[in-house]
């Protein structure tokens, strides 16, 4: 692993750690009154704060997950480095696109 990929993996981990902690807190708080669409959307709809929070989450997780996946398929899958990098880029783009779409859906709801 190049030192730049290593740095990116650790940097995104450092960003994700507090975000995941807050996300877990929200999950545990929210599940006590039972999960429902209204409850979730009531919290997130129209909130710039949650949009930025989960938007940042989606960007960081796309990079972190893709770099991790690349390492796993290199070590356990025996793929050539070029192919592993291509798979990782595909994973990053899928995670990023679906992630940002999900954040858009629960915060802006398709309109502004």
């Amino acid at each position: 692993m190049s030192v730049r990929l290593f740095l990116a993996q650790r940097l995104t981990a450092l960003i994700l750690a507090p975000l995941v902690l807050v996300h877990l807190g929200v999950i545990i708080y929210a599940v006590r009154s039972g999960l429902s669409a209204e409850e979730i959307l009531g919290r997130t709809r129209g909130s710039l704060g949650w949009a930025l929070f989960y938007g940042g989450f989606a960007v960081a997780v796309a990079a972190h997950g893709a770099i991790g996946l690349r390492t796993v398929i290199l070590e356990w899958g025996g793929l050539r480095p070029g192919l592993a990098t291509a798979v990782a880029w595909a994973a990053a783009l899928i995670l990023l696109a679906l992630g940002l779409r999900g954040v858009w859906a629960v915060t802006a709801g398709g309109g502004l």
């Binding site: 692993m1 190049s2 030192v3 290593f6 650790r10 290199l74 070590e75």
Partner: protein
């Protein structure tokens, strides 16, 4: 069950495509794994190939896989590893097998070279000695890692070496950590660059199998963590 006065030993024979051969050897009150291998070679099959020199845990040449774990055989007592009298002895993992229990150590030492583990002096022997305080951070870091006996037990224990054969591995990187902390070296940043290259310390997942098995209780994971830290600091400062 083996008899109380006897050991049953499966010994690897041949190269990578070899097989296990079963031997029986007398069990003694005070006996090391190397004693048993030597007994087989002297009394049962003189064609058995293995490597040893000092027999007292200094030279690092007698490491083998004993009941699935890499160990220095000269200081591993039978009572510790084979309570039921059964032993399986194989060559070290992650190195090409020459024959029987002897591995080709060339790739192992080639990695030391690639990790820039060799000391390069900044001054000649005619210059006065450079004073290094025994209390300095660098000296203490080097002290904790310098007593490696080059036995390759950590290299054999490391999963990442097995998965990515070009990975420099715990022994070479531990050596690089010593070189990085040696203030007398003429180009320490070259050490850091070599250790942080694509096959270097960034591949370590801190399983700590190296530290778990090191016979002289060095902790290569700790040394590698030091190289990661120093490498990232240098990268952020633009000096890597």
């Amino acid at each position: 069950m083996t008899a109380l006065d006897e050991l049953e030993i499966r010994v690897w024979r041949g190269a990578a495509d070899g097989h296990y051969q079963v031997f029986r050897a007398p069990r003694r009150a005070n006996q090391t794994v190397l004693d048993v291998v030597s007994w087989i070679q002297r009394e049962a099959d003189p064609s058995l190939s293995y490597r040893f020199a000092c027999r007292v845990g200094v030279c690092g040449s007698c490491a083998m896989t004993v009941n699935g774990k890499p160990r220095w055989t000269c200081r591993t007592h039978i009572t510790k590893v084979a309570k039921d009298g059964r032993l399986t002895i194989a060559p070290l993992r992650n190195l090409p097998v020459i024959r029987d229990l002897a591995c080709d150590m060339a790739p192992f030492f080639e990695k030391w070279r690639r990790a820039r583990g060799r000391f390069e002096a900044a001054i000649s022997r005619d210059d006065p000695l450079v004073p290094i305080s025994p209390d300095s951070l660098e000296r203490r870091a080097a002290d904790a890692a310098v007593e490696c006996i080059n036995c390759a037990v950590c290299h054999a224990a490391c999963d990442v070496v097995g998965w990515r054969p070009d990975y420099l591995g715990p022994a070479a990187l531990n050596r690089a950590w010593v070189a990085w902390n040696d203030l007398r070296d003429r180009d320490r940043s070259a050490v850091l660059r070599a250790a942080n290259a694509g096959a270097g310390c960034g591949n370590c997942h801190s399983h700590q199998s190296c530290a778990e098995h090191c016979p002289v209780e060095i902790n290569p994971t700790r040394s590698i963590a030091g190289l990661k830290r120093a490498g990232l600091l240098a990268l952020l400062r633009g000096s890597l």
